[in-house]
């Protein structure tokens, strides 16, 4: 393994861990504001394995689906971090882990220096108030028997300190107005709305508790193109208005580029490459990112003719039995023996280390090489 100081994975050691110990201290830390551009969420070596069992009475673990297998990244205050990857790469599991909807197998998630995977009770409740989620499917994520007012107002039942009982109706109507829905619709049911309007309701619910971070899991992929643009514009406006940080998970690379400041590419439970939108889209160095970008159909017949297309062979391997070494090696055209033996670290590749080039960003490949696949040659 390379011993240069430049090559190193993000580590717990570079997290400013808070030393609060009592619940009151922890709550004070969680309520303190974070400066714009400072890290608000720091994820280190996050792992989630789902056990595979056999037998009915005497359950025996026969293996594990390694949905997330050592993921590290930072989210800065006020930015949008896009996470892209194909189905099964673990991007939605990451979202659930950040929301503490799933318990991590190992690893840490530091929110303002507090490891939220170890919190419980009141402190955890305070964290959850500040990290909210918008789901993919606006048809199944809204209770069909509840009115819009009840859906958006429900978070206040759990966190009554945010809005006193008498104010709630007014607050819900304000939220409807903020997301561009008529406040008079407060007594309607979800089925009376179109897909785009429902997603606005989901966003209003996410905003209800004045969170600092919103995790959006495929928020626009169920919507038609013309409506999708409306919702993306709305989300960008809300980010400026409420000073939000977004984690934007999607499989549509064009949408992710549009909305994100930084982008992480996931493959089989690991982060393959992470960097700013220019670094990832215009100067990708990981072969998987290059293949993914080159496979995106571009709505411009002129531009497509000059583009190089990399067509990958085969399917994504099963996360229950991932390949040794680099996980992408079974589909990679650059794969060599080293790739089967050594797991590549997510770090600035040695060839680019210390250089002033957009290609010098973290990429988990032994043979990282810059290649523009998006622009016509």
């Amino acid at each position: 393994m390379a011993e240069t100081a430049d090559v190193k994975e993000p580590n717990v050691s570079d997290v400013k861990v808070s030393d609060a110990s009592t619940t009151a201290e922890v709550e004070a830390v969680l309520d303190a504001p974070v400066e714009r551009g400072e890290p608000i969420l720091q994820v280190r070596n996050l792992v989630k394995h789902f056990p595979l069992t056999q037998g009915i009475l005497l359950k025996k673990q026969v293996g594990a689906v390694k949905a997330v297998d050592g993921v590290s990244f930072d989210l800065y205050q006020g930015e949008t971090l896009g996470i892209v990857g194909e189905s099964g790469c673990g991007k939605s599991t990451v979202a659930k882990l950040l929301m503490t909807l799933e318990t991590a197998t190992s690893g840490e998630v530091f929110y303002k220096g507090q490891d939220i995977t170890k919190l419980s009770g009141r402190a955890l409740k305070a964290v959850r108030r500040n990290i909210q989620m918008v789901f993919q499917d606006p048809y199944t994520s809204l209770n069909p028997r509840m009115t819009v007012g009840d859906i958006i107002g429900e978070p206040f039942e759990i966190h009554p300190e945010v809005a006193p009982k008498g104010d709630r109706r007014k607050r819900v109507q304000e939220l409807l107005d903020v997301v561009g829905l008529n406040p008079e619709y407060i007594n309607r049911y979800p089925h009376q709305f179109s897909g785009g309007q429902r997603q606005r309701i989901g966003i209003a619910r996410g905003l209800a508790l004045n969170p600092e971070i919103i995790i959006c899991d495929e928020p626009v992929s169920a919507l038609d193109v013309s409506v999708q643009a409306q919702v993306v514009n709305l989300m960008e406006r809300l980010q400026d208005e409420f000073n939000l940080s977004y984690i934007f998970i999607a499989h549509d690379l064009s949408i992710v580029r549009h909305i994100s400041d930084r982008v992480g590419v996931m493959y089989l439970g690991k982060m393959a490459e992470i960097g700013t939108d220019v670094q990832i889209y215009d100067h990708p160095t990981h072969p998987y990112t290059q293949a993914l970008l080159s496979a995106v159909p571009v709505p411009d017949p002129e531009a497509r003719e000059g583009r190089e297309r990399i067509i990958l062979t085969g399917d994504v391997p099963s996360p229950a039995n991932p390949p040794s070494g680099c996980r992408f090696r079974t589909r990679c055209w650059k794969a060599q023996d080293k790739c089967a033996e050594e797991v590549p670290l997510l770090a600035v590749p040695e060839v680019f280390a210390g250089k002033q080039t957009p290609a010098a960003h973290e990429s988990a490949c032994h043979f990282a090489e810059e290649k523009d696949v998006v622009h016509a040659a």
């Binding site: 309007q197 949408i255 549009h258 909305i259 159909p297 709505p299 017949p301």
Partner: protein, 329 residues
């Protein structure tokens, strides 16, 4: 066969009679496909693109769906006036369909080999053994690795991309003249989508078939289609060769669609979203159905329904102001 169209749809109308009223899903659609040509039908949900395909295939759920007018001429014969038995014999043999969701389109309790072989047994009267051998060949043809070993697997044992290949194999089995593919890659990941689209394009060339590709994805269309028909509220609003459509759309709806998608190759500013929502099919606005959302709408758009105006050779647009739209790029 050179100059006659493979499929000609004339003024097709379909409505759904529901408790909430009559939903006019397809309102006078006309289009033609020639052998070896790919026509893309582009539209958002509820634009009538899938219903048009179902009416052509004769697999419309009826009731509540009814074809209320028009003709569907396939190699010169009207499918709509044909007897059901005659039509059934054409289906699969002469025109075939690929569905979006292969998992629900394939029979989960039959092996894929048996499902493929069934095509040959029913339509060609082959023996079980012969049909089986053909099924393996077919699976090889759509590049399913280790076809011989996998022929006895069930659909759930295949990945999404492989299942879609089996769907394609099934559509190709009897070497039809026309394939209708309804969102064939929508459920797939981009890297797999590229594989499947490439395969489909290659096979279309090889068998010189006509292909109707129904999709909502402007990117996929740009990659494979020769001609595009854009649908809105059950009508075709613009038809054009693929390059011209992307270069200079002649209908404000097409313009709006192109403007509302973000670009992969550069970071854009705010997206130009089309305001409002597509109309309900039970209450399509009078005049041009797009007028409530259109930035160019004038009084005439609210009263007079625009026909498809010829814009250039092989191009039409259903907009009173197509000239202005075309020039305003």
């Amino acid at each position: 066969m050179e100059n006659t169209a493979l499929l000609e749809v004339r003024d097709l109308r379909v409505e759904f009679r529901t408790r909430e009223g009559v939903a006019k899903a397809v309102n006078g659609v006309s289009c033609t496909v020639h052998a070896g040509q790919t026509l893309a039908v582009l539209g958002e949900s509820g634009s009538g693109k899938s219903v048009t395909a179902q009416a052509v295939m004769g697999i419309l759920d009826s009731p509540p769906g009814f074809v209320t007018g028009g003709q569907v001429l396939f190699q010169g014969r009207d499918l709509l006036t044909m007897g059901e038995e005659q039509r059934r014999r054409l289906r699969g043999a002469k025109l075939a369909m690929i569905f979006q969701d292969a998992l629900s389109a394939l029979n989960p309790v039959m092996t894929v080999g048996a499902q493929l072989a069934e095509m040959y047994q029913v339509h060609r009267g082959m023996s079980g053994k012969e049909a089986r051998a053909r099924a393996v060949q077919l699976m090889d043809r759509v590049r399913i690795p280790a076809a011989k070993e996998r022929v006895n697997d069930y659909p759930h044992q295949f990945s999404g991309g492989m299942r879609q290949r089996i769907m394609i194999a099934m559509a190709l089995a009897l070497e039809p003249d026309l394939i209708i593919a309804d969102e064939p890659t929508t459920a797939l990941d981009v890297t797999v989508q590229a594989q499947v689209m490439d395969l489909l394009a290659e096979l279309r060339r090889e068998f010189n078939m006509g292909l109707i590709l129904i999709t909502h994805d402007l990117g996929v269309v740009a990659d494979v289609a020769d001609r595009i028909a854009v649908m809105y509220a059950g009508r075709i609003v613009e038809t054009a060769p693929v390059h011209q459509l992307y270069e200079a759309p002649a209908h404000p709806y097409t313009r709006g669609l192109l403007d509302s998608i973000p670009r992969l190759d550069r970071k854009g500013q705010r997206l130009h979203a089309i305001k409002g929502l597509p109309p309900s099919l039970t209450a399509i606005p009078p005049g041009c159905p797009f007028n409530p959302r259109c930035p160019r709408a004038q009084d005439i758009c609210r009263t007079d329904r625009p026909p498809l105006f010829p814009v250039a050779a092989g191009r039409t647009s259903a907009c009173h102001f197509w000239k202005d739209t075309l020039d305003a790029r």
